[in-house]
Amino acid sequence: MDISTRAKLKDRPSGPQGALSDLVASDSKAVSVKKITGKFKSKTIIQGIDLDIADGSITAIVGPSGCGKSTFLRSINRMNDRIPGWSLEGEISVFGQDIYGPDTDLLSLRRRVGMVFQRPNPFPMSIEENISCGIKAHHLAPRSHIKEIVRARLEEVGLWKAVSGRLKESPFQLSGGQQQLLCLARALAVQPEILLLDEPTSSLDPISTQQVEELLREFVPELTIVIVTHNLAQAKRVADSVAFFMNGTLVEFGTATEIFEDPRFPETKRYISGSFG
């Protein structure tokens, strides 16, 4: 992905797109989830989830607290693997490849499926190194190009002007919003194909939130984005399709328009209208 294509994409209309069936053509699935059930010890956290995420779209996952949204998201890049007592049945494929299969390279999976977390988590190293460490870890570019890439990624997230003079300094002096943008740039630096966002704006102020949302719209369709959010308005603003989770199951999945304007299930309707959650 280069910057110039990104720039052109800014003119792309944002907001809810066409019908779901158009979005998920069989050959354009970025993530295909088949009947997954995840358990922590004997407690079922997510159950029987079937979901196809279209390549180049933004999918929002909404639902009340504790409904398994984050757990589901973290199964897509296998971040739950380390949790003692965690087990997952079913199949998740990323671009047709079963990621829980025996020949999955976990490191390259996580490079392809990037993640940004709820709270900004810049590493305890300089701003520049925060971006470059992933590139170096995956040998994505020769050393001589790294400075350029760092700059490009920072420009992409709109952070370059703010930090260009202090690339060697600690990222912890940046504001929360800037730190989150840095984490976004860090995730982008390893050229992911899919980006998972776990409530990325829940700890940010409204202006930073808007900034992140606008960026997300710029990143598609080169990037497939899955965003877990508590904020229904945010889902409405950025998502092409929306999945509504409740009690560990997928209640309804459809285009943003369908979910927000004409939900099929009463639970969805009640949640959307703000009756609970």
Binding site: N121, M125, A137
Partner: protein, 371 residues
């Protein structure tokens, strides 16, 4: 105070039991009139008592320093710079009449040079750090990142037990087991090390195993628990969100350890290392039992007998007390001053180093506050 404090027990009319505990704790209910107002004794006393308690360590430090220096002063005057540069350590003649030097009476032939001891102390401590620091950091990392919480709990308990083992036990093990073992198994290697500068230091006969290497390794093992348990506690404080961030970026465990965990803990680990160094510098018994406790010569190889300041003070105190002029004891006191000075320099060095590394800690605090 315009009048002497007057004491009144149970001024509030409280007539509860005066037997048993109540009678012992009578002062808690006592009131005293100071400057015209009645005040509860315990209210007045608490700040005073805590202030005294708080000052005790400071006063103790000053007193130790002052008295040691006072004891050592005549020796400092007589021994001069030679104390630091010369190697010969001799109490002199017991039988000849003492002579006067710089106004201090000393036995004929008494000469005190602490250079081998200073060097020995530093060599053994540095060797101990070389042994202890890598082992400690790696074991802490394994305990925090790799082992299940149950196993790491047991490993932690073992570390704490290791801290509590008396140094004489370490010394005994070093003298009876480790020394002979090293001597036996390194003998061939040591005799085949090329005779060139630097490497020469690792060449030579291994004798019976008592010497710098054994002392250093025993010291190292003794400080492993200190450095390891501190490092482990520090590594536990690395926010999970940072490690998750690294993992989500596709970093390997070693990359996460090196690039995320290490920068986060390094200042603390440096501090822990100096804590261990402090212990190594001052350790007496284990060194005495494993070093060969030779006087008057520096170690010319890592297998040579040697001695440290602390071990010398202990081993020489007995014979020093037979010196009728008291000069030998004063020289040992000077040795004590020197050890305090070295420890002090190391501590200040640690503080300065920590200040240099300080930014990471500040960053840590920032994130911790956000969590």
């Amino acid at each position: 105070m315009d009048s002497l404090p007057r004491l009144a027990v149970n001024q509030a009319g409280d007539t509860t039991s005066v037997s048993g505990l109540g009678s012992v704790l009578w002062w808690r209910r006592a009131w005293v009139k100071i400057g015209g107002t009645w005040t509860k004794v315990s209210d007045r006393a608490t700040p005073a008592v805590t202030a005294i308690m708080a000052v005790v360590p400071f006063v103790a430090l000053i007193l130790i320093g002052v008295f040691l220096f006072k004891e050592a002063f005549p020796a400092i005057k007589v021994n001069g710079v030679n104390f630091l540069t010369h190697s010969k350590w001799s109490v002199g003649s017991e039988y000849a009449n003492p002579i006067k030097k710089s106004g201090v009476s000393i036995p004929v032939g008494a000469t005190y040079g602490a250079w081998p001891l200073v060097l020995g102390t530093l060599e053994a401590s540095v060797l101990a750090l070389i042994v202890a620091v890598p082992v400690s950091i790696l074991s802490a990392l394994v305990v925090v990142e790799k082992l299940s919480s149950r196993v790491s709990h047991w490993v932690g308990a073992c570390l704490e037990i290791l801290v509590g083992i008396p140094s004489v036990i370490y010394g005994l093990w070093g003298a009876l087991t480790l020394g002979p073992f090293l001597s036996h198994h390194l003998g061939w290697v040591a005799s085949h090390v090329p005779n060139v500068p630097i490497l020469r230091f690792f060449r030579g006969p291994t004798y019976n195993g008592e010497g710098l290497l054994t002392a250093g390794v025993v010291l190292g093992i003794m400080i492993i628990p200190i450095v390891a348990s501190t490092s482990r506690d520090l590594m536990r404080q690395v926010p999970q969100s940072l490690k998750d961030g690294g993992r989500a970026l596709g970093m390997t465990d070693s990359e996460i350890a090196l690039k995320i965990v290490w920068p986060w803990v390094k200042s603390g680990v440096v501090g822990a290392t100096f804590l261990g160094l402090g212990r190594a510098l001052g350790e007496t018994m284990a060194v005495l039992m494993t070093s060969g406790a030779v006087l008057g010569t520096t170690a010319h190889s890592i297998f040579s007998n040697m001695n440290t300041i602390a071990a010398t003070i202990v081993s020489q105190l007995d014979s020093a007390q037979t010196d009728g002029t008291g000069f030998a004891v004063r020289s040992l006191a000077e040795l004590g001053c020197l050890l305090i000075l070295i420890t002090l320099v190391c501590n200040v060095g640690a503080k300065l180093l920590l200040r240099r590394f300080g930014t990471t800690t500040v960053a840590g605090a920032t994130i911790a506050a956000n969590e």
